[in-house]
C-alpha cells in the first residue's frame, strides 16, 4: 500500500506537470530531530523532500495570505493556484480566510489529510524519562528509543492536548484526499479547565491571569500565527492612536490579551496554534475557549469553532438574553 507521503508526491507531481499550481506548501524535516517545519516547493524537485507523518506540525493556512497577496491585489493573474496540505484544523483556518475574503477558494488546491491527532514529543520524552533518540509511530503505539531502553506508549497517551479537543479531524471539502480513513480518536468538547477558573473568586482569577500575563514577552507570536488575525494593519502596529503602549506593565498585558482574545471572539477555530507558538506557555486557549463557550451558550451556536458566513458577533437575534 502506498504511504501518504508517496501518494502526496505522486499527486504533487501531477499538479506540477499539468501546470495547475505555482506553489505547493507542505512539511519537511527540520534541523532539530522530530521537528516538522513548513516547506515551500515551486517545482516537483523541491517537493521531493516533503513528508507527512504524525509529529507535531505548524499550521500552514496563515502562509496563504502572504503567498496569495499578489493575486488578491491583482498584480498577477487571477488563475494562479497554490496547493496546500490540509488537516481538519488547517481547513478551518483556510475556511476562515475564505469567509473573511482574504483569499479565494479557486486559488487554492486543498490536499487533504485525515488525522487522528498528532504526537507530542515532549510528552513522550517525559514518559521515557529522557530525551528520546528515536521515535517510531505505528498504527496504535509510539515507540520511543532512549539511551538504553525502549518504551512502547499508546498513542492516546502522547497525543497533543489540542488534538484531544479537535472539532474536525479531516477537511470537510478537499480537491485531493490522500487517504480515506475516518478518524477514530474520540473528540470531546472539554471546557473543564475553563469551568475550574470560573469557580474561583474574582481575586483569585485576577491573580491567576496576572501571573500568566506577566510572563508575556509581547513577541506577538500568538497574533502572527493565528488565521483569525488577518487584518491588513494590526491594531497593535498602529502608533496613532496607540492602543497598546510598548511598555510591559501588568495593565498593558491585560490590555493586550483582552484585545487579542476579543478580536478573535466568534472567529477562533480552536486550532490551538496560539498556545503552541507561545514561548512562555501562556494558556491562551483558556481565553479563546471561554469566549467560544459563552458564544455557544448565549447565542445558541452549536459549534463556535467552525467558521460560518456570518459570525456570531456580526449578527443578532431579537430574543438574545437580557441579563448582563
Amino acid at each position: 500500500m502506498m504511504t501518504m507521503t508517496e501518494k502526496m508526491r505522486e499527486q504533487v507531481k501531477e499538479l506540477f506537470v499539468n501546470n495547475e499550481i505555482k506553489l505547493f506548501i507542505g512539511f519537511e524535516k527540520g534541523f532539530t530531530k522530530f521537528s516538522r517545519i513548513p516547506a515551500f516547493a515551486e517545482n516537483y524537485d523541491e517537493a521531493k523532500k516533503m513528508i507527512i507523518d504524525e509529529f507535531e506540525t505548524p499550521f500552514l493556512a496563515k502562509y496563504l495570505i502572504r503567498e496569495l497577496e499578489e493575486v488578491a491585489a491583482g498584480i498577477v493573474e487571477k488563475s494562479e493556484r497554490v496547493a496546500i496540505l490540509t488537516r481538519g484544523c488547517d481547513y478551518l483556518g483556510i475556511r476562515r480566510l475564505i469567509v473573511d475574503n482574504i483569499i479565494l477558494r479557486e486559488n487554492i488546491v486543498i490536499v487533504g489529510i485525515p488525522c487522528d491527532g498528532l504526537i507530542d514529543v515532549k510528552k513522550a520524552n517525559k514518559l521515557l524519562g529522557e530525551e528520546a533518540r528515536e521515535i517510531t509511530i505505528d498504527e496504535e503505539n509510539v515507540i520511543a528509543k532512549g539511551k538504553t531502553e525502549n518504551k512502547i506508549i499508546s498513542k492516546a497517551e502522547v497525543v497533543l492536548d489540542r488534538c484531544r479537543q479537535c472539532i474536525m479531524c479531516e477537511p470537510k471539502e478537499s480537491d485531493i484526499m490522500l487517504a480515506e480513513k475516518t478518524a477514530n480518536v474520540k473528540k470531546n468538547k472539554d471546557y473543564s479547565k475553563i469551568e475550574e477558573i470560573e469557580k474561583m473568586s474574582a481575586k483569585e482569577r485576577y491573580e491567576f491571569w496576572s501571573r500568566q500575563f506577566e510572563r508575556c514577552i509581547r513577541c506577538f507570536a500568538c497574533r502572527d500565527a493565528c488565521t483569525a488575525c488577518n487584518c491588513r494593519k494590526c491594531i497593535f502596529d498602529i502608533t496613532e492612536p496607540e492602543m497598546l503602549e510598548k511598555t510591559v506593565a501588568t495593565s498593558e498585558q491585560f490590555m493586550f490579551h483582552f484585545i487579542r482574545a476579543f478580536h478573535v471572539a466568534g472567529r477562533c477555530s480552536a486550532c490551538g496554534e496560539c498556545e503552541r507558538v507561545c514561548p512562555v506557555d501562556i494558556p491562551l486557549g483558556l481565553l479563546n475557549g471561554k469566549l467560544r463557550k459563552d458564544i455557544e451558550f448565549l447565542f445558541n451556536v452549536e459549534e463556535a469553532g467552525i467558521p460560518s458566513e456570518i459570525e456570531p458577533l456580526g449578527e443578532f437575534k431579537l430574543d438574545d438574553p437580557d441579563e448582563w
Binding site: 534541523f31 501571573r211 500568566q212 510572563r215 507570536a221 506557555d281
Partner: protein, 337 residues
C-alpha cells in the same frame, strides 16, 4: 575548592536575600522562568534552560528612565530609584557568557549605559553547570561548554549530593567568604570540573569558521535569505528570548501632565522597527528583516567586537514556532560559501 550541600541552597538564598534581590529559577504553572524569588524553597533545577534568560535581570524588558510630574507649570523630573544589589542564581553557563557580549555593547567604548552599568556592578551571577544539555544546545560551537566559567562570578558544578563551588571573580570570592559557614572546603577536585568542561553538546559539531563574517559580506542578495524568510511568521520570539539581542526603543507614557519615559526591548523582526517618518520602511518584507537578524549576529557584531553574537543557548531554536534554526543557517552558509 568548596562544596555546598544541595539542602543548604535555600538557606544560602535566604541569607543573601537580607541585603540583595534574588533572581532564581522557579517553576510557574509548568514553565521554568528566572524570576524574583520570594519563597526560597521554590527554586528548582528542573530545567535545561529557563524560558527567559539572565538578560532580564540586567537589561529588563521594561525600564523606567525618568518620571515627570506636572509638566504644565512646575516641571519636576525624577530619576529612577537606585538599584538594589542583585544576585542571579541558577543561570546557565551560556547565559552568563552572553552577558560579556552585552557588556561589549553597553559598557565598552566611548559611551556607556549608566543604568546597565549600575546593574552590572551591583549584580552577581551564580551559575549552575548543565548536567544534561538537550538537543537544542550548541554552546560548544562557540568555545564554551556546559561547564564554562565565562561571565559568571561563581560556578556550581552539581554532583550526586552536593555542588562543587568554583569562584571565578573577586565578587564571587567575597560572597563565599561572607557566607563561609554554609560552604565546606574539600580540596581540589579538578576531575569534576573537567568532566563538565569536556562534555559535548549534541549539536556541538556545528563549528563556525572564524571567517564566516568575511564570507557573509557579499551575500546580501543570497537566495537563502528568501528561503528561510518565507517560513518566518514575523513574531519577535527569537529576539526576545535571546540573551544577546539588545535592541531597544524609548517611549513616553503620559497621563495628563504626568508621565514617564521608559526603555523597552524592540525586535528587528517587527515591521515597525525600521519604520521611518513619512511611512518609509527600508526593510519592508520579512526577507530583509530575517537577513538583518542573522547578519547582525554573524557579521556586523563580529566585525565590531570580534565575536559572534550567539552563544548557542538554543532558546531561539527551541521557541521558534516554524523551525528557523541559526545552526541551520551557519551550516548552510558554511557549505555554500
Amino acid at each position: 575548592m568548596n562544596k555546598l550541600l544541595r539542602s543548604n541552597v535555600s538557606c544560602l538564598l535566604k541569607k543573601l536575600s537580607e541585603h540583595t534581590e534574588i533572581y532564581a529559577s522557579t517553576e510557574e504553572d509548568g514553565v521554568c522562568i528566572l524570576a524574583k524569588l520570594d519563597n526560597y524553597e521554590e527554586w528548582t533545577m528542573n530545567y535545561v534552560r529557563t524560558a527567559n534568560s539572565v538578560k532580564d535581570v540586567f537589561f529588563p524588558q521594561n525600564e523606567e528612565i525618568m518620571k515627570y510630574k506636572d509638566a504644565s507649570s512646575d516641571l519636576k523630573i525624577e530619576a529612577p530609584k537606585p538599584f538594589k544589589e542583585r544576585i542571579a542564581f541558577g543561570v546557565r553557563p551560556c547565559d552568563a557568557a552572553a552577558m560579556l557580549l552585552l557588556d561589549d555593547v553597553f559598557l565598552k567604548g566611548e559611551f556607556y549605559d549608566s543604568y546597565y552599568k549600575e546593574r552590572r556592578e551591583k549584580g552577581t551571577i551564580i551559575t549552575i553547570a548543565c548536567e544534561k544539555p538537550d538537543q537544542h544546545c550548541f554552546c560548544t560551537s562557540f568555545d564554551l561548554s556546559p561547564g564554562a566559567t565565562e561571565g559568571s562570578d561563581i560556578v556550581l558544578y552539581p554532583t550526586e549530593d552536593f555542588f562543587l563551588v568554583v569562584e571565578v571573580t573577586e565578587k564571587g570570592k567575597k560572597l563565599i567568604k561572607d557566607n563561609a559557614e554554609l560552604f565546606e572546603d574539600i580540596g581540589a577536585k579538578p576531575e569534576i570540573v573537567d568532566s563538565y568542561k569536556n562534555m559535548r553538546t549534541v549539536l556541538g559539531d556545528v563549528c563556525i569558521p572564524n571567517d564566516l563574517n568575511e564570507k557573509l559580506k557579499g551575500e546580501f542578495d543570497n537566495s537563502y535569505w528568501k528561503k528561510i524568510a518565507r517560513r518566518c511568521l514575523g513574531c519577535g520570539n527569537c529576539t526576545f528570548v535571546c540573551p544577546t539581542c539588545h535592541c531597544f526603543a524609548v517611549c513616553d507614557v503620559a497621563r495628563g501632565c504626568d508621565g514617564k519615559r521608559a526603555r523597552t526591548w524592540d525586535s528587528c523582526k517587527f515591521q515597525d522597527f525600521f519604520l521611518m517618518a513619512g511611512d518609509h520602511n527600508p526593510r519592508p518584507t520579512q526577507i530583509e528583516r530575517t537577513r538583518q537578524r542573522f547578519m547582525h549576529k554573524l557579521n556586523y557584531f563580529k566585525e565590531k567586537y570580534d565575536k559572534y553574537q550567539c552563544i548557542g543557548c538554543g532558546r531561539c531554536v527551541e521557541k521558534c514556532p516554524v523551525g528557523v534554526h541559526i545552526a541551520d543557517v551557519i551550516t548552510h552558509m558554511k557549505e555554500e560559501l
